[in-house]
């Protein structure tokens, strides 16, 4: 069974090929990292997977299902969640509301039931709340539950985004630069959490990251991109020492 596969993925913006024939496969239960210089097409790949962009060519497969043309709002229901490079939280809502929104894909109530707030809706709300509280405990953000996002410091927002993605009960988690803007200590915490997500929750992680220490600490496999093309693929060690990658990205 194919867990996740991108096959010959390509997208053009006008004349620019942002992603050009990228093929990779993510196995269930691993942490797969995409690295590359700015503008290499890493986030574009994420936007293609979460179906915000329409692929010009190629195919996306998730759990043996072709998701190349699936509407974007159904991606979460299939079990793919993501975070954003520039935090996209719902700023004028509390942290709790942000996490509860992530349960949207699991909602079963209809409009009229909610209009009258029937006992069924109430029961379902409490179930969602329990699921959310598990994630809150997992990431240790209990104290911020009722705080509005605008009043939270950057580091906590970053964790909140991770929490929101986890609240959708994902099978595949897309993390777009989880450590950007975090200090050394927070980055170390993030590394632990990513490993816990894989080991304790059994969630597969696809990650874009610049911090090479974090990449080599957690990744099972790494893919290096430049100008939308694949440079190298393999373990963190192999990719880091690959001459093309060193020349284009890492320097040395």
């Amino acid at each position: 069974m194919t867990f996740f596969k991108a096959d010959g993925l390509a997208i053009n913006f006008g004349g620019i090929k942002a992603v050009d024939g990228v093929t990779f496969e993510v196995k269930k239960g691993e942490i797969f990292t995409i690295i590359g210089p700015n503008g290499a097409g890493k986030t574009t790949i994420f936007n293609l997977v979460s179906r915000i962009y329409e692929a010009s060519e190629g195919k996306l497969v998730f759990e043996d299902r072709d998701i190349t043309r699936t509407p974007p709002h159904q991606i979460a229901k299939l079990g793919i969640a993501r975070t954003f490079q520039n935090i996209e939280l719902f700023e004028h809502a509390t942290l709790l509301q942000n996490l509860l929104l992530a349960r949207h894909a699991h909602k079963k109530s209809g409009f009229f039931g909610e209009l009258l707030f029937t006992p069924g809706v109430r029961k379902m709300e409490l179930e969602h709340r329990e699921a959310v509280e598990k994630v809150i405990d997992f990431l240790d953000i209990q104290q911020y539950r009722d705080t509005y996002i605008v009043n939270l410091p950057y580091g906590v927002r970053k964790v909140t985004e991770l929490a929101r993605a986890l609240c959708t009960d994902p099978k595949l988690l897309l993390l777009d630069e989880p450590s950007s803007g975090l200090n050394v200590e927070e980055t170390a915490d993030m590394a632990f959490w990513i490993q816990d997500i894989k080991n304790l929750l059994g969630v597969t992680v696809l990650m874009v990251e610049h911090d090479m220490s974090l990449v080599s600490a957690v990744s099972d496999r790494v893919l290096a991109l430049n100008y939308g093309r694949m440079l190298a693929q393999g373990t963190a060690q192999e990719v880091q020492t690959h001459p093309e990658v060193v020349r284009a990205y890492l320097g040395g």
């Binding site: 979460s50 915000i52 509407p71 974007p72 709002h73 159904q74 991606i75 979460a76 229901k77 969640a81 993501r82 954003f84 996209e88 939280l89 719902f90 700023e91 004028h92 809502a93 709790l96 509301q97 509860l100 929104l101 992530a102 349960r103 949207h104 894909a105 909602k107 109530s109 409009f111 909610e114 209009l115 009258l116 707030f117 809706v121 109430r122 709300e125 409490l126 709340r129 329990e130 509280e133 605008v150 009043n151 929101r164 959708t168």
Partner: protein
């Protein structure tokens, strides 16, 4: 300073936060119920009619609050929905449909109109959506004046007083309670939606469409729902409006009224149900207040034409400059001041100078 100890998840989905809040809202309810009796005793019956306007505008405010304050879609055409509701209700009443049937039909018709406007509006946000709804309002106003077999055009359409299940609401005090009932109903329904997934999806669309979509929110569906629900509430308000004003003419439902309704939610405070009510109090009671003040002002000022519009505009500018969260924002600060007394610090709200975002990443 009160602390809220939470021991149960149910506490976060209750209508009222705790016993203290329930007590104050119950007290407010009693006061509003007793108010007409007090006014009659004081022989100030005139104000019963004015406060009835607060209730009707309150429903209008809730309608726009859902759309503008919670979903982040700006509409400059809501007077059209109010008009559709009013004319539909009046038309059915005229053709012998009883009140309860007529108001339900009026709500259904405005809801359908809301869906129709909502569909093309899916691809637009911000200023473009505002212009599209403005165009809709102008077209509808034209329809009101031309479709004479239904609306009687500029000849106008008289609306008899409301009679529900054989009981006449001819009396101002009786009609006051009827409008109060519908306002409370509208508040309850809206609050229910806001504490369930639909309301959260609306807030999510307002703050970040891209994230909402990635969390499984069908943008087209929920934006249309926001439009439909908002229009439906306007239809409800329109039915009451028709009885209150007693005589419908196309020039009531102008763009000016749409703008006034939008100002209502901005002055009241975007993003809160309280704001809709505060805004309604402001919009409904400002004209009578100015009328009273006129007697005390020097003649050179009080006889100026457009005094009311001028004061309205001035207050709006001041609100946007100094209190982006409107009257509700000020209310929160006053409440905090007293609950923290004497420890209140001005700086508490210093950092929060952020405006409601309606036009973020799409």
């Amino acid at each position: 300073m009160r602390f809220f100890f939470k021991t149960d998840y149910v506490q976060d989905i209750r209508l009222f936060r705790d016993k203290v809040d329930t007590f104050w809202y119950a007290l407010l309810g009693l006061a509003v119920i007793a108010l007409p009796l007090v006014l009659i005793a004081l022989e100030e019956d005139y104000f019963i009619g004015e406060i009835t306007w607060v209730f009707i505008y309150g429903i209008c405010g809730l309608s726009l609050m859902v759309l503008v304050g919670f979903t982040g879609l700006v509409s400059l055409g809501h007077a059209a929905f109010l008009g559709i509701g009013a004319y539909a209700h009046a038309y059915f009443i005229q053709h012998g449909v009883p009140f309860s049937g007529a108001i339900v039909l009026a709500i259904i018709i405005t809801t359908l109109a809301g869906i129709l406007v909502g569909l093309p509006a899916l691809r637009m946000t911000g200023i473009y959506l505002a212009i599209a709804t403005l165009a809709f309002a102008i077209i509808i106003q034209e329809v009101f004046s031309r479709w004479e077999s239904v609306t009687h055009g500029f000849a106008g359409m008289p609306v008899e007083k409301a009679t529900v299940l054989g009981f006449s609401f001819e009396d101002d005090t009786a009609f006051y309670y009827l409008c109060l009932f519908f306002l409370v109903l509208a508040l309850w329904l809206t609050k229910n939606l806001l504490r369930s997934p639909t309301g959260r999806a609306w807030i999510a669309i307002r703050d970040s469409e891209i994230a909402a979509q990635s969390m499984g929110v069908n943008l087209a569906l929920y934006k249309t729902m926001a439009f439909a629900y908002s229009a439906g509430l306007m239809g409800m308000a329109g039915a009451l409006f028709a009885h209150k004003i007693a005589y419908l003419a196309p020039d009531i439902f102008t763009v000016i009224l749409s703008i006034q309704l939008l100002l209502l939610v901005i002055v009241g405070g975007l993003g809160s149900l309280h704001g809709a009510i505060f805004g309604a109090i402001f919009v409904a009671l400002l004209p009578p207040t100015i009328a009273i003040l006129r007697d005390y002002l020097p003649e050179a000022i009080s006889r100026q034409p457009g005094l009311e519009a001028g004061i309205f505009g001035l207050i709006l500018v001041l609100v946007i400059l100094f209190e982006p969260l409107g009257i509700y924002g000020r209310w929160m600060k006053i409440k905090l001041y007293f609950s923290m007394f004497p420890m209140y610090k001005r700086a508490t709200f210093k950092r929060q100078k952020s405006y409601m975002k309606s036009e973020r990443l799409r």
